[in-house]
Symmetry: C2
Amino acid sequence: MNASEFRKRGKEMVDYVANYLEGIEGRQVYPDVEPGYLRPLLPAAAPQEPDTFEDIINDIEKIIMPGVTHWHSPYFFAYFPTASSYPAMLADMLCGAIGCIGFSWAASPACTELETVMMDWLGKMLELPEAFLAGKAGEGGGVIQGSASEATLMALLAARTKVIHRLQAESPELTQAAIVEKLVAYSSDQVVATLGTTTCCSFDNLLEVGPICNKEGLWLHIDAAYAGSAFICPEFRHLLNGVEFADSFNFNPHKWLLVNFDCSAMWVKKRADLTGAFRLDPTYLKHSHQDSGFITDYRHWQIPLGRRFRSLKMWFVFRMYGVKGLQAYIRKHVQLSHEFESLVRQDPRFEICAEVTLGLVCFRLKGSNKVNEALLQRINSAKKIHLVPCHLRDKFVLRFAICSRTVESAHVQVAWEHIKEMAADVLQAERK
Amino acid sequence: MNASEFRKRGKEMVDYVANYLEGIEGRQVYPDVEPGYLRPLLPAAAPQEPDTFEDIINDIEKIIMPGVTHWHSPYFFAYFPTASSYPAMLADMLCGAIGCIGFSWAASPACTELETVMMDWLGKMLELPEAFLAGKAGEGGGVIQGSASEATLMALLAARTKVIHRLQAESPELTQAAIVEKLVAYSSDQVVATLGTTTCCSFDNLLEVGPICNKEGLWLHIDAAYAGSAFICPEFRHLLNGVEFADSFNFNPHKWLLVNFDCSAMWVKKRADLTGAFRLDPTYLKHSHQDSGFITDYRHWQIPLGRRFRSLKMWFVFRMYGVKGLQAYIRKHVQLSHEFESLVRQDPRFEICAEVTLGLVCFRLKGSNKVNEALLQRINSAKKIHLVPCHLRDKFVLRFAICSRTVESAHVQVAWEHIKEMAADVLQAERK
């Protein structure tokens, strides 16, 4: 395929994408297929000769779409949102075309520098303490990781290296193995210090845990994977109070800030803590600027060597929505979750199981776990909406997460009417 | 931005991308900017109100492009190739639109199932032993990782868990800490067992190392990050002989098989070794099929929880090139590297420093490291082509890697003429 063929096919794909997203409400949110559905639909091996583009585009509706769970349907209320917006998709097209691998400053200066500045922009939106920002010559700064898991792993490894260095400086006779054996990582029952857990969006009290960590010389990593996006709104920023005690902080704009996956934002107060743990300097990655003062080589900040030009997505989204547009988006989702909460509270058969703070409502039928499991199964078998459950203190609970960019009050109302209908069926079946 | 605006802007972006790649030869391959160039060109914080799309698209040429190293220029011969093709870019557009997060089968069945089948297709292209394929009910199978580093880390963690389980079964009195203290990971001076090192594309002898590993019960992981793509050609397949002794094998289609980053292909003979090490089963990720026989939940196969629909890129590329088209692509690159090699060999001032097997030529001026450092600096300062160096047994060596999808014999000839000119200047300066 050459450039002129790409001009044609690319525009057809733009239309396919626009059609898909415009019409997504009309697709069944959860697919009908059974495990193993796809293999018989494909040849056993790759073709020797090229297939045509028409064959492929036709196969999307025939083979792929029947097996897709439509995460961006306004009837998808499962897990947590995964971000999707047109500006981010446009940026991803550009990212693919530039196709640089930004492991060092020299490998593509724009890739590294835009990331540093975008992480500062985002840090300022969240009113992060100055120490987390790179600025022109700060000791801190931000990096885009692939996922919150990677950010947590990086924080853990950096903390481990830092404490080993400190203890070896204090007691040179200690071997690394002897130190590692004594190391302890503290975590809550949901993980590290967490703002907005996956189960029920609960919050750890940073103002209690933070000073203890600082006093004891413990590395404090805070994970706000889902909730972090909300902190760009002044009315939710208080949930982040105490971040000033942290060594590292992470949240996922790819969940709730309209920047398509992957884009997990991580900041550290001392970049040397990360780069000290992961320095990798083979000759073929050295460049003339690397020892000349203030330079960022992001390969030292992460596990993989390779990295895409992901900050383009942030740049496009921040500029095309503006901070006010992003705040309005968060507020709309929070308002919709409260709307659902109040519908649930008006029905005496149901109960709300956790405080509704952001876009997640945990609810259940008053009664046994069994009846709630039956309710969820009935809902997900009907496939009109899609939910997933969680366990809260041994109770089986349904999670209603506001997910889609295009979800409106009308969809929430439809979903609730449907849930009530399913509940009536379940309760009637139980009485029999 | 709504769907109709995206139709318009998306098509403009398709044209921008096509123009960029069509005209890339006319851009200077390495940028002129100095560290810190970008920050003064941007506002200190994100805008409160939205910017227009026109503003942003204009800023790409004004702010971004001046700082881009053009990896897809036919004058880029640095590092190793990073894959780029139009079919992969089309697939990425679709991937962004579907925007599912395929951590479990239920999260999007098509995402999981296409990946399993595409990894089988690719495994068959490489003539991997049957044990590495998933088939309908195999014990092995493939997974797309983000990078070879992640694949290596996964292999290491799986090996560690496996040996801990084995030793604890043999000697129940041993604590996990006592076992971990004794574990040893063997590696070559370039890493795990490697086919095609970054430095000089050398190959470990798997037929020697493999049987020893099997006899001693050691986990053997083979990394062929760059070279792996070449094994789809029968004439290079012998380089992979011995893979039958491995427990896990990995290479990067995102380097040399026209599938844009990220797409690192990893196979294991026993999927239970991976999933046993990483099982993660909170209630909100459970689904009705997960315990019903043969199902793949890829979150157990990797470090991050989230994952994109990356197999679409493989599907588009494999079908639109066909196996023969992919083989022809590999062969063209290898032929160009041999063409460059023979040009170097014809000039008695130069020497070839390592056997040229695939697309990399390691060469240098006969003489001191200093003169070769001066040559590289002169080449990279002229910015007509771009190279990086390596060290081979204390010798400073220049690497000439065939990288771009569009590089032709004419570019290689131009590059060589240019290198000779720079060499003449350097040698003349030395004589003075």
